[in-house]
């Protein structure tokens, strides 16, 4: 009896403790947060934290927007109630923050039956919200969209199954501020694609329908907006064109085909604003007509899938305003520096270019890894020795007779006058030798390159994110200014974008389970 009483008392006291824990746990489970950097004219100016706090009613949720400045200091919060929202994009100009959401009346709803689900009105929109720095929502616009939502089953317990709508935009919302003018918004749904211009009060200036394509990228430049379109064509990476629109009236300018003078397709490695003129430019590689689609395997990069590199500067709206620079190496014109196959004699390696950017002196830099290929002598000897067995050589040769390895990074410079040269190399960790028929992504092992800018000193930097270290390379000084180990004493480090002239260091301490952020100078 005493034992039973004790058990009962224990369970009661546990209830008191767990009731509190349970309620906090359940309430916190309803809270969801999305964080986005706020971009203005390609500069990160702050951060927005969008939080779904709780279900407010059958159809709506309570939300909170928290604004932080570029130093991660809180500026203020705004609360509002809406039906299911998912933050898609953010832009800022003239003290107005434009936020674009995907709004869905069925978001978070699970129906007992298909019948019940079909009875419910499906109301999906792209919602644009205009928030002032006084914490006021100046205007909200709803643009109905067709998400082509399907009913899918969702298990709710061991025995009960519910149904929910699932669907998405065919092209995610893209937002850009048009400096001193307003905001440009692009998205695509099952019914087509739309390009919309807003003023700073949130009034729609115009809306244009755009034919659906494989992919789109939006860019603002001075008083124009540009839409880079990629359609499916013979070459996986080709098929791009660029269309400009006047922001004031939506009038379009003649379409620019992204191809060389012989009509060869081009890849897009960067589509952005020239840091000095602000004009749009695209740059990338010239696709080889024969081997241009042979990608994926590491050996393919030794068979010249690309014939050269290019830049196109859009300095006006007419054909004559385009400044096009094409550098081919497959015609032998770049010898002795680069062979017809794209082999660099200086580094005795092939050049797998994966990143490109424009500096403040009009140079375009292409960055990528050195690749070497060697014959597997052992395999050839073994296949000769085992030739009488017939099956032996087949087995050995099936694994390939060559092997590949990635070495340092090449920084290749294309000057404004069109001279291509190997500017420097960045020391990276060599990969091991892989069979040539290995996927390139496996050999690359997550190595990536991207650029950072310091507008103040007009300096560009390459970030070489390698397996062991992250190197920050100053393009002007031609040297590594920082080496940041990915892992040191149980801390995992990654870096990300931050305010102008800075980068964000994100350190995750696995052992003590905390994340430390720091915004460090590029100087």
């Amino acid at each position: 009896m005493k034992k039973q009483l004790l058990t009962l008392l224990l369970s009661v006291s546990i209830f008191v403790v767990t009731a509190q824990t349970k309620v906090f746990k359940e309430v916190s489970e309803d809270i969801a947060t999305q964080t986005r950097g706020i971009i203005q004219d390609n500069s990160l100016v702050g951060y927005v934290i969008f939080t779904r706090l709780e279900k407010a009613s059958e159809d709506s949720f309570n939300y909170r927007i928290t604004l932080m400045d570029e130093n991660l200091n809180d500026i203020g919060t705004v609360n509002f109630t809406e039906i299911g929202l998912d933050l898609e994009a953010v832009a800022f100009d003239q003290d107005v923050l434009c936020l674009a959401y995907l709004k869905s009346s069925t978001d978070g709803k699970v129906f007992k039956s298909k019948k019940q689900a079909r009875k419910t009105d499906v109301d999906d929109d792209v919602l644009t919200q205009f928030l002032t720095l006084n914490g006021k929502i100046a205007k909200t616009n709803s643009l109905p969209v067709n998400l082509n939502s399907m009913l899918t089953q969702k298990a709710q317990s061991w025995v009960h199954t519910g149904y929910e709508y699932s669907g998405n935009l065919s092209h995610q919302v893209q937002l850009q501020n048009v400096s001193g003018k307003g905001f440009a918004c692009f998205y695509g749904d099952a019914d087509g694609c739309n390009l919309i211009a807003y003023d700073f009060k949130g009034n729609q200036l115009w809306k244009k329908s755009v034919d659906d394509k494989q992919d789109f990228a939006l860019l603002a430049s001075k008083s124009d907006i540009y839409l880079l379109e990629k359609e499916k064509q013979k070459y996986i990476e080709g098929g791009c064109s660029l269309t400009g629109y006047n922001f004031e009236d939506g009038k379009s300018y003649p379409k620019i085909a992204i191809q060389d003078k012989d009509g060869r397709s081009l890849t897009i490695m960067n589509f952005g604003n020239d840091p000095v003129t602000g004009n749009p430019f695209v740059c990338g590689k010239i696709i080889d007509t024969k081997n241009g689609n042979k990608l994926g395997l590491v050996r393919n990069y030794t068979h010249a899938p690309y014939d050269g590199v290019y830049t196109i500067d859009v300095n006006g709206h007419n054909k004559k305003d385009l400044k096009e620079t094409f550098v081919h190496w497959n015609d032998g014109s770049q010898k002795p520096g680069i062979s017809k196959l794209g082999y660099l004699s200086d580094t005795k390696s092939f050049n797998v270019l994966t990143s490109a950017f424009r500096d403040y002196n009009g140079n375009t830099y292409f960055v990528g890894s050195q690749l070497i290929k060697k014959v597997k002598i052992g395999s050839i000897i073994s296949s000769v020795i085992t030739a009488p067995t017939i099956i032996g050589p087949i087995m050995i040769l099936a694994a390939g007779t060559s092997k590949c390895k990635l070495l340092d990074a090449n920084v290749v410079k294309l000057s404004p006058k069109g001279t291509l040269s190997l500017d420097n190399t960045i020391a990276c960790d060599d990969s091991r030798f892989w069979r040539s028929n290995t996927d390139f992504a496996t050999v690359n092992g997550g190595r990536k390159f991207y650029s950072l800018d310091d507008p103040e000193s007009k300096t560009s930097f390459v970030v070489a994110d390698d397996s062991k270290n992250i190197m920050i390379y100053n393009v002007d000084q031609k040297k590594i200014i920082r080496t940041i180990p990915h892992k040191a004493e149980g801390v995992q480090t990654t870096i990300g974008p931050a305010k102008d002239g800075h980068f964000m260091v994100i350190e995750y301490n696995k052992k003590e389970k905390y994340t430390r952020l720091s915004i460090e100078s590029l100087k």
Binding site: E26, D30, V45, L53, E70, D74, G135, E520, S521
Partner: protein, 486 residues
Amino acid sequence: MCKVCNRTLLLVIIFLAFSLHSHAQTADLYSYSDLSMFSFAKQKDSLKKAWDCPQLYKDKATQKKYKEIWNARTEFITSAIEANSYINDGKIYNYIEAIIYDLYKANPQLLKQKPLLLIDRSASVNAYALGGNVIAVNLGLITFAQSREELVLAIAHELSHNILNHPEKSMKETAEWLTSDEYKNSLKAVLDSKYQRLTRLKKVMESYTFSRSRHSRYHETDADSLAIILLKNSHISFDPEFFLRLDSSDNEYREPLKNPTKSYFASYHVPIDDAWFNQRSKGLSSHTYNFNSSTVIVDSLKTHPDCVERYEKTKAEINITGKLTPIPAEIKVRANKMLIWNIYDNLSLTECLYRIFLEKDKGNIDPWYDFMSYNVLSGLYYSNKQLNRFNAVGIKSKEFISKNYYELQNLLEQMPATTLEALIKAGSNATFWSNLPPDAKGMKALFASLNFDTDNATKAEAAAATNFMNSNPSSMYCEFAEHFKK
């Protein structure tokens, strides 16, 4: 004796007097063993033993919750002692203890036992009662107070909390509330509700907080009234104006500097670009924004809320007899230095340097402040190397700081590492080092290793830190070296 000889002799005497004075000031701040981890080790153990949770409730859940809260208090104070949050330097400790002793002697009916005093190293202008006859006084309060009477008032107020058993009552109220049917039902109602769960939960918590703050407001009024009695019994003046001064105690970094920010770096003779003092990024911080309550400190969030109300309630009790007693200069100087050092050791480098500049504005030429300026720049260089400069600078929103502070934090954030290195080199060769004791000089060698040893950096840092601690075992700066020894 001729006139020239006389003048020379006078100069020599003045120089000697000054150098002795400055040396005395820097050599004798406190020793490493004065930190609470060492100096309060016995008290910590005694507290653990003495603070045994009393059996107050028949209801097991309430008693259990009460014990949890009780133990949390013990854990708070013992952890703070271990973390060196307190210091027993002798001089400041004795000065504050003498104040408590005066109050204790004059109020035998109310203060049956002499309280245990802790000097908290925090810069916050505050003192606090922990119950169990323990009281803590922050260094921030000592530097803020303009007279002994102001300090006495703050201490008497905290002693009153202990006399009136406010900490114990608060623990009891919390335990009772958290185990009450009302609280449990409110939580259950949150779980049962389909909508607005967070709002409902916040309301439950707010109703508790409101009730607590209402009680706490009564507690503050009661403590103020009793403090005035303690002061009267001790024949100590009471000036209610102190409450009004307390109202602005959170604005310490809004105080402007007397000279342009750049001028404080003139002695280094290193070119400093004016542009570095301005925020050059296009960030939101440079915009004008006006969200509700984002630009002012709401009264409830102040360290000392309701100050005006407290002034109004007590102003009739004003009792100033004679001149207010100034706090001895030595106490003020020591408290300020200890506070600056603690801010530095906690890696708040802009705060630290700004306080140094404020001190220089007072005409203080003590070389210890030049030494600390050097430490700030060296620490910043080290933080830059460690990719931790952003956290070392600790950027504050412009609304809560002066224009000079804003410029200083911009400078510390944006100054290139090469300029920092040049400043450190210039600082290393400055003349102030000759007036410093050996342990301060040892810091220069320690920083040289931290900042400029490139081979096997972590091991070299640990070795340099160990070497410093072995060479200067009693130095207060061992606390800093300890970070790298680990």
